[in-house]
Amino acid sequence: MFLALRELQHYRFRSVLIGGIVALIAFMVFMLTGLTRGLAQDSAALMINTPASHFVTTRDAAGVFNRSFLSPGEVKAITAVGGDASTPLTQSFASFSGGTEATQLSGVLLGVDPSGFMAPEITSGQGLAAGVSGAVVDHSLQEDGVKVGDTLTLKPGGETLKVLGFTGAARLNHQPVVFVTLDRWQALNPRTRGSVSAVALKTDAAVTSQISALGGLSVLTRAEALQVLPGYKEEQGSLTMIQVFLVVVAAFVMAVFFYVLTLQKTPQFGLLKAIGASTRTLAGSLVAQMLFLTVLAVAIAALVTLGIVTLLPAGIPFALTLPTLLSASALLIVVAALSSLLSLRTVAKVDPLIAIGTVT
Protein backbone atom coordinates (compact mmCIF):
# COMPACT_ATOMS: atom_id res chain seq x y z
CA MET A 1 0.00 0.00 0.00
CA PHE A 2 2.81 2.35 0.96
CA LEU A 3 4.59 2.00 -2.37
CA ALA A 4 1.33 2.16 -4.31
CA LEU A 5 0.13 5.39 -2.74
CA ARG A 6 3.51 7.11 -2.75
CA GLU A 7 3.86 6.43 -6.47
CA LEU A 8 0.41 7.77 -7.31
CA GLN A 9 1.13 10.81 -5.19
CA HIS A 10 4.52 11.45 -6.75
CA TYR A 11 3.27 11.19 -10.32
CA ARG A 12 0.19 13.26 -9.52
CA PHE A 13 -0.44 14.50 -13.05
CA ARG A 14 -0.26 11.01 -14.48
CA SER A 15 -2.60 9.68 -11.77
CA VAL A 16 -5.10 12.47 -12.41
CA LEU A 17 -5.05 11.74 -16.14
CA ILE A 18 -5.74 8.04 -15.83
CA GLY A 19 -8.21 8.63 -13.00
CA GLY A 20 -9.92 11.22 -15.19
CA ILE A 21 -10.34 8.77 -18.06
CA VAL A 22 -11.81 6.17 -15.74
CA ALA A 23 -14.09 8.77 -14.15
CA LEU A 24 -15.36 9.92 -17.55
CA ILE A 25 -16.04 6.37 -18.67
CA ALA A 26 -17.79 5.61 -15.38
CA PHE A 27 -19.83 8.78 -15.76
CA MET A 28 -20.94 7.70 -19.22
CA VAL A 29 -21.82 4.24 -17.97
CA PHE A 30 -23.93 5.76 -15.19
CA MET A 31 -25.70 8.22 -17.46
CA LEU A 32 -26.43 5.54 -20.03
CA THR A 33 -27.68 3.21 -17.32
CA GLY A 34 -30.01 5.97 -16.15
CA LEU A 35 -31.22 6.62 -19.68
CA THR A 36 -31.70 2.93 -20.40
CA ARG A 37 -33.73 2.49 -17.24
CA GLY A 38 -35.56 5.75 -17.91
CA LEU A 39 -36.52 4.70 -21.42
CA ALA A 40 -37.65 1.33 -20.15
CA GLN A 41 -39.92 3.04 -17.64
CA ASP A 42 -41.16 5.49 -20.24
CA SER A 43 -41.85 2.70 -22.68
CA ALA A 44 -43.34 0.10 -20.41
CA ALA A 45 -43.65 1.14 -16.78
CA LEU A 46 -46.97 -0.71 -16.66
CA MET A 47 -45.32 -4.00 -17.60
CA ILE A 48 -42.28 -3.44 -15.38
CA ASN A 49 -44.26 -2.66 -12.24
CA THR A 50 -47.24 -4.92 -12.81
CA PRO A 51 -48.17 -7.49 -10.15
CA ALA A 52 -48.90 -9.97 -12.96
CA SER A 53 -46.50 -12.86 -13.47
CA HIS A 54 -47.73 -14.06 -16.88
CA PHE A 55 -49.82 -12.85 -19.79
CA VAL A 56 -51.96 -15.01 -22.05
CA THR A 57 -52.62 -13.96 -25.65
CA THR A 58 -53.71 -15.82 -28.74
CA ARG A 59 -51.00 -18.00 -30.18
CA ASP A 60 -50.80 -16.04 -33.46
CA ALA A 61 -50.17 -12.79 -31.50
CA ALA A 62 -47.27 -14.40 -29.57
CA GLY A 63 -47.56 -12.02 -26.66
CA VAL A 64 -48.14 -8.75 -28.51
CA PHE A 65 -51.30 -7.28 -26.98
CA ASN A 66 -52.47 -5.22 -29.92
CA ARG A 67 -52.33 -8.23 -32.23
CA SER A 68 -54.26 -10.47 -29.87
CA PHE A 69 -58.05 -10.98 -29.72
CA LEU A 70 -59.22 -13.53 -27.18
CA SER A 71 -62.86 -14.46 -27.66
CA PRO A 72 -65.21 -14.36 -24.64
CA GLY A 73 -65.23 -18.17 -24.72
CA GLU A 74 -61.45 -18.36 -24.48
CA VAL A 75 -61.41 -15.81 -21.66
CA LYS A 76 -63.99 -17.86 -19.79
CA ALA A 77 -61.92 -21.04 -20.24
CA ILE A 78 -58.76 -19.28 -19.00
CA THR A 79 -60.38 -17.64 -15.97
CA ALA A 80 -62.02 -20.95 -15.11
CA VAL A 81 -58.55 -22.39 -14.61
CA GLY A 82 -56.93 -19.26 -13.18
CA GLY A 83 -59.73 -18.16 -10.85
CA ASP A 84 -58.95 -15.01 -8.90
CA ALA A 85 -55.36 -15.16 -10.08
CA SER A 86 -56.43 -14.22 -13.60
CA THR A 87 -57.96 -11.04 -14.91
CA PRO A 88 -58.63 -9.94 -18.49
CA LEU A 89 -57.25 -6.73 -19.92
CA THR A 90 -57.77 -5.20 -23.29
CA GLN A 91 -55.87 -2.52 -25.12
CA SER A 92 -56.49 -0.03 -27.89
CA PHE A 93 -54.96 3.27 -28.83
CA ALA A 94 -56.89 6.44 -28.24
CA SER A 95 -56.54 9.99 -29.37
CA PHE A 96 -58.23 12.63 -27.27
CA SER A 97 -58.31 16.26 -26.37
CA GLY A 98 -58.36 17.62 -22.86
CA GLY A 99 -56.24 19.52 -20.43
CA THR A 100 -55.32 23.15 -20.79
CA GLU A 101 -53.39 22.94 -24.00
CA ALA A 102 -55.09 22.96 -27.37
CA THR A 103 -52.97 20.07 -28.68
CA GLN A 104 -54.27 16.61 -29.29
CA LEU A 105 -53.18 13.97 -26.75
CA SER A 106 -52.84 10.25 -27.18
CA GLY A 107 -52.68 7.29 -24.91
CA VAL A 108 -53.28 3.60 -24.48
CA LEU A 109 -56.89 2.91 -23.59
CA LEU A 110 -56.75 -0.09 -21.27
CA GLY A 111 -59.85 -1.90 -20.14
CA VAL A 112 -59.46 -3.75 -16.84
CA ASP A 113 -61.66 -5.43 -14.28
CA PRO A 114 -61.95 -2.85 -11.43
CA SER A 115 -61.93 -5.65 -8.85
CA GLY A 116 -59.03 -7.57 -10.46
CA PHE A 117 -55.34 -7.20 -9.64
CA MET A 118 -54.69 -5.18 -12.82
CA ALA A 119 -56.91 -2.33 -11.57
CA PRO A 120 -54.79 0.83 -11.17
CA GLU A 121 -53.65 1.96 -7.75
CA ILE A 122 -54.54 5.60 -7.52
CA THR A 123 -52.20 8.31 -6.30
CA SER A 124 -54.93 11.00 -6.27
CA GLY A 125 -58.64 11.23 -6.96
CA GLN A 126 -60.83 8.14 -7.05
CA GLY A 127 -60.29 4.65 -8.39
CA LEU A 128 -62.24 2.61 -10.89
CA ALA A 129 -65.38 0.86 -9.75
CA ALA A 130 -67.87 -1.40 -11.50
CA GLY A 131 -70.23 0.57 -13.68
CA VAL A 132 -68.34 3.87 -13.74
CA SER A 133 -67.78 5.43 -17.14
CA GLY A 134 -64.80 7.63 -16.17
CA ALA A 135 -61.09 6.89 -16.39
CA VAL A 136 -58.02 6.70 -14.17
CA VAL A 137 -55.04 8.09 -16.09
CA ASP A 138 -51.27 8.03 -15.74
CA HIS A 139 -49.86 11.01 -13.85
CA SER A 140 -47.66 11.94 -16.81
CA LEU A 141 -50.79 13.50 -18.31
CA GLN A 142 -50.63 16.10 -15.54
CA GLU A 143 -47.78 17.67 -17.49
CA ASP A 144 -50.25 18.25 -20.32
CA GLY A 145 -52.55 20.08 -17.95
CA VAL A 146 -55.00 17.24 -17.25
CA LYS A 147 -56.57 17.46 -13.77
CA VAL A 148 -58.96 15.31 -11.76
CA GLY A 149 -62.50 16.15 -12.91
CA ASP A 150 -61.46 17.11 -16.45
CA THR A 151 -63.27 15.61 -19.39
CA LEU A 152 -61.31 13.90 -22.15
CA THR A 153 -63.01 13.90 -25.55
CA LEU A 154 -62.11 10.90 -27.69
CA LYS A 155 -61.49 11.48 -31.37
CA PRO A 156 -63.08 11.07 -33.81
CA GLY A 157 -66.29 9.80 -32.19
CA GLY A 158 -66.63 12.49 -29.55
CA GLU A 159 -67.25 10.12 -26.62
CA THR A 160 -66.17 11.62 -23.32
CA LEU A 161 -64.24 10.22 -20.34
CA LYS A 162 -64.22 11.98 -16.99
CA VAL A 163 -60.84 11.84 -15.23
CA LEU A 164 -61.57 10.16 -11.89
CA GLY A 165 -58.04 9.97 -10.60
CA PHE A 166 -54.34 9.54 -11.34
CA THR A 167 -52.14 6.51 -11.05
CA GLY A 168 -48.36 6.28 -11.02
CA ALA A 169 -46.02 4.45 -13.38
CA ALA A 170 -48.57 3.46 -15.97
CA ARG A 171 -47.06 3.82 -19.40
CA LEU A 172 -47.16 1.46 -22.32
CA ASN A 173 -45.71 1.87 -25.84
CA HIS A 174 -44.19 5.21 -24.71
CA GLN A 175 -47.69 6.53 -24.03
CA PRO A 176 -49.71 7.22 -20.90
CA VAL A 177 -52.29 4.59 -20.01
CA VAL A 178 -55.96 5.59 -19.69
CA PHE A 179 -57.66 2.94 -17.52
CA VAL A 180 -61.35 2.29 -17.97
CA THR A 181 -63.57 -0.61 -16.94
CA LEU A 182 -63.88 -3.56 -19.34
CA ASP A 183 -67.52 -2.70 -20.03
CA ARG A 184 -66.70 0.89 -20.87
CA TRP A 185 -63.86 -0.23 -23.11
CA GLN A 186 -66.15 -2.65 -24.97
CA ALA A 187 -68.67 0.15 -25.40
CA LEU A 188 -66.00 2.41 -26.86
CA ASN A 189 -64.64 -0.35 -29.13
CA PRO A 190 -67.73 -2.11 -30.51
CA ARG A 191 -65.76 -3.52 -33.44
CA THR A 192 -63.94 -5.98 -31.19
CA ARG A 193 -67.19 -7.85 -30.48
CA GLY A 194 -66.47 -8.62 -26.87
CA SER A 195 -62.94 -9.93 -27.38
CA VAL A 196 -60.04 -8.83 -25.16
CA SER A 197 -56.29 -8.53 -25.79
CA ALA A 198 -54.92 -10.64 -22.98
CA VAL A 199 -55.48 -12.27 -19.64
CA ALA A 200 -53.02 -11.39 -16.91
CA LEU A 201 -52.08 -14.15 -14.48
CA LYS A 202 -50.60 -13.94 -11.02
CA THR A 203 -49.73 -17.55 -10.55
CA ASP A 204 -47.14 -20.30 -10.87
CA ALA A 205 -45.93 -22.66 -13.57
CA ALA A 206 -48.41 -25.41 -12.66
CA VAL A 207 -51.43 -23.26 -13.50
CA THR A 208 -49.81 -21.73 -16.60
CA SER A 209 -49.09 -25.16 -18.06
CA GLN A 210 -52.75 -26.05 -17.53
CA ILE A 211 -53.72 -22.91 -19.42
CA SER A 212 -51.23 -23.62 -22.21
CA ALA A 213 -52.89 -27.01 -22.54
CA LEU A 214 -56.15 -25.29 -23.51
CA GLY A 215 -54.65 -24.81 -26.98
CA GLY A 216 -54.46 -21.89 -29.38
CA LEU A 217 -52.93 -19.71 -26.68
CA SER A 218 -49.55 -18.27 -26.01
CA VAL A 219 -48.51 -17.88 -22.34
CA LEU A 220 -45.58 -15.55 -21.73
CA THR A 221 -43.90 -14.55 -18.51
CA ARG A 222 -43.90 -10.87 -17.64
CA ALA A 223 -40.27 -10.56 -18.78
CA GLU A 224 -40.99 -12.29 -22.10
CA ALA A 225 -44.02 -10.11 -22.73
CA LEU A 226 -41.82 -7.07 -22.07
CA GLN A 227 -39.34 -8.22 -24.70
CA VAL A 228 -41.98 -8.63 -27.40
CA LEU A 229 -43.45 -5.21 -26.67
CA PRO A 230 -42.96 -3.31 -29.95
CA GLY A 231 -39.69 -1.35 -29.88
CA TYR A 232 -38.74 -2.29 -26.34
CA LYS A 233 -36.05 -4.87 -27.08
CA GLU A 234 -34.53 -2.74 -29.85
CA GLU A 235 -34.24 0.36 -27.66
CA GLN A 236 -32.87 -1.47 -24.68
CA GLY A 237 -30.60 -3.61 -26.81
CA SER A 238 -28.74 -0.76 -28.47
CA LEU A 239 -28.29 1.14 -25.20
CA THR A 240 -27.14 -1.98 -23.38
CA MET A 241 -24.66 -2.68 -26.15
CA ILE A 242 -23.14 0.79 -25.74
CA GLN A 243 -22.83 0.17 -22.01
CA VAL A 244 -21.16 -3.18 -22.50
CA PHE A 245 -18.74 -1.59 -24.95
CA LEU A 246 -17.93 1.16 -22.48
CA VAL A 247 -17.17 -1.33 -19.73
CA VAL A 248 -14.97 -3.34 -22.10
CA VAL A 249 -13.19 -0.17 -23.23
CA ALA A 250 -12.67 0.80 -19.59
CA ALA A 251 -11.14 -2.61 -18.92
CA PHE A 252 -8.80 -2.27 -21.89
CA VAL A 253 -7.75 1.29 -21.08
CA MET A 254 -6.90 0.31 -17.51
CA ALA A 255 -5.20 -2.92 -18.51
CA VAL A 256 -3.06 -1.33 -21.21
CA PHE A 257 -2.17 1.71 -19.13
CA PHE A 258 -0.96 -0.34 -16.20
CA TYR A 259 0.69 -2.87 -18.47
CA VAL A 260 2.77 -0.20 -20.20
CA LEU A 261 3.67 1.32 -16.84
CA THR A 262 4.65 -2.10 -15.56
CA LEU A 263 6.88 -2.74 -18.56
CA GLN A 264 8.52 0.64 -18.00
CA LYS A 265 9.08 -0.16 -14.35
CA THR A 266 10.64 -3.55 -14.97
CA PRO A 267 14.10 -2.43 -13.77
CA GLN A 268 12.51 -1.02 -10.64
CA PHE A 269 10.70 -4.27 -9.93
CA GLY A 270 13.99 -6.08 -10.48
CA LEU A 271 15.66 -3.85 -7.92
CA LEU A 272 12.86 -4.28 -5.39
CA LYS A 273 12.98 -8.02 -5.84
CA ALA A 274 16.76 -8.03 -5.42
CA ILE A 275 16.40 -6.13 -2.16
CA GLY A 276 13.99 -8.82 -1.08
CA ALA A 277 10.47 -7.69 -1.96
CA SER A 278 8.33 -10.71 -2.75
CA THR A 279 6.25 -10.93 -5.92
CA ARG A 280 3.21 -10.98 -3.67
CA THR A 281 4.12 -7.60 -2.18
CA LEU A 282 4.68 -6.04 -5.58
CA ALA A 283 1.52 -7.57 -7.03
CA GLY A 284 -0.46 -6.37 -4.05
CA SER A 285 0.94 -2.90 -4.56
CA LEU A 286 -0.12 -2.89 -8.21
CA VAL A 287 -3.64 -4.10 -7.47
CA ALA A 288 -3.94 -1.61 -4.63
CA GLN A 289 -2.96 1.18 -6.99
CA MET A 290 -5.46 0.09 -9.59
CA LEU A 291 -8.26 -0.27 -7.05
CA PHE A 292 -7.49 2.99 -5.30
CA LEU A 293 -7.56 4.89 -8.57
CA THR A 294 -10.71 3.17 -9.83
CA VAL A 295 -12.66 3.48 -6.59
CA LEU A 296 -11.84 7.16 -6.36
CA ALA A 297 -12.67 7.80 -10.03
CA VAL A 298 -15.92 5.85 -9.87
CA ALA A 299 -16.93 7.62 -6.65
CA ILE A 300 -16.34 11.02 -8.24
CA ALA A 301 -18.25 9.95 -11.35
CA ALA A 302 -21.15 8.75 -9.20
CA LEU A 303 -21.30 12.06 -7.33
CA VAL A 304 -21.17 14.03 -10.57
CA THR A 305 -23.94 11.84 -12.01
CA LEU A 306 -26.15 12.41 -8.97
CA GLY A 307 -25.50 16.13 -9.33
CA ILE A 308 -26.28 16.20 -13.05
CA VAL A 309 -29.51 14.26 -12.56
CA THR A 310 -30.99 17.12 -10.51
CA LEU A 311 -30.23 19.47 -13.42
CA LEU A 312 -31.77 17.27 -16.13
CA PRO A 313 -34.88 18.70 -17.84
CA ALA A 314 -38.04 16.93 -16.69
CA GLY A 315 -38.82 15.64 -20.18
CA ILE A 316 -35.75 13.38 -20.36
CA PRO A 317 -36.64 9.88 -19.26
CA PHE A 318 -33.97 9.09 -16.67
CA ALA A 319 -34.19 6.57 -13.88
CA LEU A 320 -31.18 5.70 -11.73
CA THR A 321 -31.71 4.15 -8.33
CA LEU A 322 -29.00 3.86 -5.71
CA PRO A 323 -28.79 0.04 -5.98
CA THR A 324 -28.35 0.36 -9.75
CA LEU A 325 -25.65 2.98 -9.32
CA LEU A 326 -23.86 0.84 -6.74
CA SER A 327 -23.97 -2.32 -8.82
CA ALA A 328 -22.68 -0.48 -11.90
CA SER A 329 -19.84 0.89 -9.74
CA ALA A 330 -19.07 -2.55 -8.40
CA LEU A 331 -18.95 -3.91 -11.95
CA LEU A 332 -16.44 -1.25 -13.02
CA ILE A 333 -14.25 -1.92 -9.98
CA VAL A 334 -14.28 -5.66 -10.56
CA VAL A 335 -13.38 -5.08 -14.21
CA ALA A 336 -10.45 -2.89 -13.14
CA ALA A 337 -9.22 -5.54 -10.74
CA LEU A 338 -9.42 -8.16 -13.48
CA SER A 339 -7.58 -5.95 -15.94
CA SER A 340 -4.60 -5.84 -13.57
CA LEU A 341 -4.05 -9.55 -14.19
CA LEU A 342 -2.21 -8.75 -17.42
CA SER A 343 0.35 -6.70 -15.51
CA LEU A 344 0.59 -9.15 -12.62
CA ARG A 345 1.92 -11.81 -14.95
CA THR A 346 4.70 -9.45 -16.00
CA VAL A 347 5.52 -8.54 -12.41
CA ALA A 348 5.72 -12.22 -11.49
CA LYS A 349 8.11 -12.87 -14.36
CA VAL A 350 10.56 -10.08 -13.53
CA ASP A 351 13.88 -11.64 -12.57
CA PRO A 352 15.75 -9.87 -9.76
CA LEU A 353 18.92 -10.67 -11.71
CA ILE A 354 18.25 -7.73 -14.02
CA ALA A 355 19.17 -5.47 -11.11
CA ILE A 356 22.75 -6.65 -11.42
CA GLY A 357 24.58 -5.48 -14.51
CA THR A 358 24.26 -7.71 -17.51
CA VAL A 359 24.63 -11.36 -16.70
CA THR A 360 27.50 -12.76 -18.75
Binding site: I275, G276, A355, G357, T358
Partner: protein, 244 residues
Amino acid sequence: MTLTAHRPQTAPASPSSSALLTPTLVLQDVSKTYGDGDGTITALHPATLVVQPGELVAVNGPSGSGKSTFLSIAGALLRPTTGQVRIAGQDLTALSDAGLPAFRLKNLGFVLQSSNLIPYLNVREQLTLVPHLAGEDGRDARQQAEELLQLLGLSERARHFPDALSGGQRQRVAIARALMNDPQLILADEPTASLDSVRGREVVELLAQQVHAHGKAAVMVTHDERVLDLCDRVVSIVDGQLRE
Protein backbone atom coordinates in the same frame (compact mmCIF):
# COMPACT_ATOMS: atom_id res chain seq x y z
CA MET B 1 29.45 -15.24 17.85
CA THR B 2 30.54 -18.64 19.09
CA LEU B 3 32.21 -21.51 17.42
CA THR B 4 29.91 -23.47 15.21
CA ALA B 5 31.19 -26.89 16.09
CA HIS B 6 27.79 -28.50 15.68
CA ARG B 7 27.77 -27.70 11.99
CA PRO B 8 29.95 -29.69 9.61
CA GLN B 9 32.61 -27.25 8.51
CA THR B 10 33.33 -27.47 4.83
CA ALA B 11 34.88 -24.08 4.35
CA PRO B 12 38.64 -23.90 4.34
CA ALA B 13 40.18 -22.55 7.51
CA SER B 14 40.73 -18.82 7.53
CA PRO B 15 44.33 -17.89 7.00
CA SER B 16 44.33 -14.69 9.02
CA SER B 17 44.02 -13.64 12.63
CA SER B 18 40.22 -13.87 12.43
CA ALA B 19 40.40 -17.65 12.61
CA LEU B 20 37.84 -17.73 15.40
CA LEU B 21 35.19 -16.03 13.33
CA THR B 22 32.76 -17.79 11.05
CA PRO B 23 33.32 -16.52 7.54
CA THR B 24 30.39 -14.40 6.37
CA LEU B 25 30.50 -15.63 2.80
CA VAL B 26 31.77 -18.96 1.62
CA LEU B 27 31.65 -19.86 -2.05
CA GLN B 28 32.86 -23.42 -2.41
CA ASP B 29 33.63 -24.58 -5.96
CA VAL B 30 30.69 -22.70 -7.41
CA SER B 31 30.26 -22.73 -11.15
CA LYS B 32 27.58 -21.64 -13.54
CA THR B 33 26.89 -23.12 -16.93
CA TYR B 34 24.03 -22.36 -19.28
CA GLY B 35 22.43 -24.82 -21.64
CA ASP B 36 23.14 -28.53 -21.68
CA GLY B 37 24.81 -31.10 -23.88
CA ASP B 38 27.00 -29.75 -26.67
CA GLY B 39 25.70 -26.18 -26.40
CA THR B 40 26.98 -25.61 -22.88
CA ILE B 41 28.30 -22.15 -22.12
CA THR B 42 30.34 -21.74 -18.98
CA ALA B 43 29.81 -18.36 -17.40
CA LEU B 44 31.79 -19.17 -14.29
CA HIS B 45 34.36 -21.93 -13.81
CA PRO B 46 34.49 -23.55 -10.38
CA ALA B 47 35.55 -20.80 -7.99
CA THR B 48 36.15 -20.67 -4.27
CA LEU B 49 36.09 -17.49 -2.22
CA VAL B 50 35.87 -16.90 1.52
CA VAL B 51 35.06 -13.47 2.90
CA GLN B 52 35.54 -12.77 6.60
CA PRO B 53 33.65 -10.20 8.68
CA GLY B 54 35.29 -6.79 8.37
CA GLU B 55 36.67 -7.51 4.94
CA LEU B 56 36.00 -5.61 1.71
CA VAL B 57 36.80 -7.74 -1.32
CA ALA B 58 36.91 -6.23 -4.80
CA VAL B 59 36.10 -8.41 -7.76
CA ASN B 60 37.83 -6.95 -10.75
CA GLY B 61 37.72 -7.86 -14.39
CA PRO B 62 36.78 -6.77 -17.87
CA SER B 63 33.15 -6.65 -18.90
CA GLY B 64 31.77 -9.99 -19.96
CA SER B 65 34.18 -11.87 -17.70
CA GLY B 66 31.52 -13.34 -15.39
CA LYS B 67 31.64 -10.72 -12.63
CA SER B 68 27.90 -10.23 -12.66
CA THR B 69 27.25 -13.96 -12.57
CA PHE B 70 29.63 -14.22 -9.66
CA LEU B 71 27.92 -11.40 -7.77
CA SER B 72 24.46 -12.80 -8.52
CA ILE B 73 25.44 -16.14 -7.02
CA ALA B 74 27.02 -14.48 -3.97
CA GLY B 75 23.89 -12.34 -3.62
CA ALA B 76 21.44 -15.26 -3.54
CA LEU B 77 19.92 -14.08 -6.81
CA LEU B 78 21.14 -16.98 -8.90
CA ARG B 79 21.70 -20.60 -7.97
CA PRO B 80 25.06 -22.05 -9.00
CA THR B 81 25.15 -25.10 -11.28
CA THR B 82 27.59 -26.79 -8.92
CA GLY B 83 29.15 -25.96 -5.59
CA GLN B 84 27.89 -24.57 -2.34
CA VAL B 85 27.08 -21.06 -1.15
CA ARG B 86 27.04 -20.30 2.54
CA ILE B 87 26.08 -16.85 3.81
CA ALA B 88 26.26 -16.14 7.54
CA GLY B 89 26.28 -19.86 8.21
CA GLN B 90 23.17 -20.54 6.09
CA ASP B 91 23.54 -23.00 3.23
CA LEU B 92 21.61 -21.39 0.36
CA THR B 93 20.99 -24.67 -1.44
CA ALA B 94 18.81 -25.60 1.53
CA LEU B 95 16.52 -22.62 0.92
CA SER B 96 13.51 -22.81 -1.35
CA ASP B 97 13.02 -20.34 -4.20
CA ALA B 98 10.28 -18.66 -2.19
CA GLY B 99 12.61 -18.37 0.81
CA LEU B 100 15.35 -16.53 -1.06
CA PRO B 101 13.71 -13.07 -1.21
CA ALA B 102 13.06 -13.17 2.54
CA PHE B 103 16.65 -14.26 3.13
CA ARG B 104 18.00 -11.39 1.03
CA LEU B 105 15.73 -8.96 2.82
CA LYS B 106 17.06 -9.99 6.22
CA ASN B 107 20.72 -10.75 5.60
CA LEU B 108 21.97 -8.94 2.53
CA GLY B 109 22.51 -5.35 1.53
CA PHE B 110 22.73 -4.34 -2.10
CA VAL B 111 24.43 -1.27 -3.55
CA LEU B 112 23.79 -1.32 -7.26
CA GLN B 113 24.61 0.89 -10.19
CA SER B 114 23.51 4.50 -10.32
CA SER B 115 19.86 3.81 -11.11
CA ASN B 116 19.12 1.89 -7.99
CA LEU B 117 16.82 4.21 -6.04
CA ILE B 118 13.04 4.24 -6.28
CA PRO B 119 12.22 7.49 -8.12
CA TYR B 120 9.04 8.30 -6.19
CA LEU B 121 10.37 7.86 -2.67
CA ASN B 122 12.28 10.54 -0.82
CA VAL B 123 15.62 9.78 0.79
CA ARG B 124 14.16 8.86 4.17
CA GLU B 125 11.58 6.58 2.56
CA GLN B 126 14.26 4.83 0.50
CA LEU B 127 15.66 3.70 3.82
CA THR B 128 12.44 2.90 5.66
CA LEU B 129 11.26 0.89 2.66
CA VAL B 130 13.54 -1.98 3.70
CA PRO B 131 12.00 -2.56 7.15
CA HIS B 132 8.61 -1.84 5.61
CA LEU B 133 9.03 -4.71 3.15
CA ALA B 134 10.07 -6.92 6.04
CA GLY B 135 6.92 -5.88 7.91
CA GLU B 136 8.90 -4.16 10.65
CA ASP B 137 7.58 -0.64 10.49
CA GLY B 138 7.74 1.55 13.49
CA ARG B 139 9.69 3.84 15.67
CA ASP B 140 12.83 1.68 15.64
CA ALA B 141 12.99 1.72 11.86
CA ARG B 142 12.55 5.49 11.68
CA GLN B 143 15.12 5.99 14.41
CA GLN B 144 17.61 3.81 12.58
CA ALA B 145 16.99 5.63 9.32
CA GLU B 146 17.66 8.96 11.03
CA GLU B 147 20.90 7.65 12.51
CA LEU B 148 22.11 6.32 9.17
CA LEU B 149 21.25 9.55 7.40
CA GLN B 150 23.15 11.45 10.07
CA LEU B 151 26.09 9.08 9.81
CA LEU B 152 26.33 9.38 6.04
CA GLY B 153 25.78 13.15 6.06
CA LEU B 154 22.41 12.99 4.38
CA SER B 155 20.17 14.49 7.07
CA GLU B 156 19.76 17.70 5.07
CA ARG B 157 18.57 15.70 2.12
CA ALA B 158 16.07 13.45 3.92
CA ARG B 159 13.08 14.92 2.13
CA HIS B 160 14.65 15.13 -1.33
CA PHE B 161 13.74 12.84 -4.18
CA PRO B 162 16.48 10.97 -6.09
CA ASP B 163 16.26 13.27 -9.11
CA ALA B 164 17.30 16.17 -6.88
CA LEU B 165 20.47 14.39 -5.70
CA SER B 166 23.91 14.24 -7.25
CA GLY B 167 25.34 10.91 -8.35
CA GLY B 168 27.52 10.67 -5.26
CA GLN B 169 24.65 11.47 -2.95
CA ARG B 170 22.53 8.81 -4.60
CA GLN B 171 25.19 6.19 -3.99
CA ARG B 172 25.48 7.31 -0.38
CA VAL B 173 21.72 6.84 -0.03
CA ALA B 174 22.11 3.42 -1.61
CA ILE B 175 24.79 2.52 0.95
CA ALA B 176 22.58 3.78 3.76
CA ARG B 177 19.73 1.67 2.42
CA ALA B 178 21.98 -1.37 2.20
CA LEU B 179 22.81 -0.91 5.88
CA MET B 180 19.19 -0.50 7.01
CA ASN B 181 18.58 -4.18 7.70
CA ASP B 182 21.93 -4.47 9.49
CA PRO B 183 23.13 -7.07 6.99
CA GLN B 184 26.12 -9.32 7.50
CA LEU B 185 27.05 -9.13 3.84
CA ILE B 186 26.96 -6.17 1.48
CA LEU B 187 27.12 -6.70 -2.26
CA ALA B 188 28.05 -3.79 -4.46
CA ASP B 189 27.75 -3.79 -8.24
CA GLU B 190 29.85 -1.09 -9.88
CA PRO B 191 28.98 1.50 -7.22
CA THR B 192 31.34 4.02 -8.82
CA ALA B 193 29.88 3.79 -12.29
CA SER B 194 28.84 7.22 -13.58
CA LEU B 195 30.78 8.99 -10.80
CA ASP B 196 33.91 11.05 -11.27
CA SER B 197 37.07 9.81 -9.58
CA VAL B 198 36.74 12.00 -6.46
CA ARG B 199 33.08 11.06 -5.85
CA GLY B 200 33.78 7.45 -6.72
CA ARG B 201 36.59 7.31 -4.17
CA GLU B 202 34.38 8.91 -1.52
CA VAL B 203 31.69 6.31 -2.05
CA VAL B 204 34.09 3.39 -1.76
CA GLU B 205 35.79 4.97 1.26
CA LEU B 206 32.40 5.22 2.91
CA LEU B 207 31.66 1.60 2.11
CA ALA B 208 35.07 0.46 3.46
CA GLN B 209 34.59 2.52 6.58
CA GLN B 210 31.18 0.93 7.31
CA VAL B 211 32.56 -2.53 6.65
CA HIS B 212 35.50 -2.05 8.99
CA ALA B 213 33.60 -0.21 11.72
CA HIS B 214 30.74 -2.68 12.00
CA GLY B 215 32.41 -5.94 11.07
CA LYS B 216 30.41 -6.43 7.89
CA ALA B 217 31.68 -8.35 4.92
CA ALA B 218 31.44 -6.80 1.49
CA VAL B 219 31.99 -7.92 -2.06
CA MET B 220 32.29 -5.18 -4.63
CA VAL B 221 32.31 -5.83 -8.34
CA THR B 222 34.15 -3.04 -10.14
CA HIS B 223 36.32 -2.37 -13.11
CA ASP B 224 37.34 0.96 -11.62
CA GLU B 225 41.10 0.49 -10.94
CA ARG B 226 41.28 3.78 -9.00
CA VAL B 227 39.45 2.46 -5.95
CA LEU B 228 41.15 -0.93 -5.63
CA ASP B 229 43.65 0.34 -3.05
CA LEU B 230 40.75 0.96 -0.64
CA CYS B 231 39.84 -2.72 -0.65
CA ASP B 232 41.32 -5.35 1.65
CA ARG B 233 41.65 -7.89 -1.10
CA VAL B 234 41.29 -7.89 -4.84
CA VAL B 235 40.33 -10.94 -6.85
CA SER B 236 39.95 -10.85 -10.57
CA ILE B 237 37.80 -12.78 -12.97
CA VAL B 238 38.93 -13.30 -16.53
CA ASP B 239 36.86 -15.45 -18.89
CA GLY B 240 34.98 -16.98 -16.01
CA GLN B 241 38.12 -17.94 -14.06
CA LEU B 242 38.52 -16.48 -10.58
CA ARG B 243 42.08 -15.60 -9.52
CA GLU B 244 43.26 -14.19 -6.24
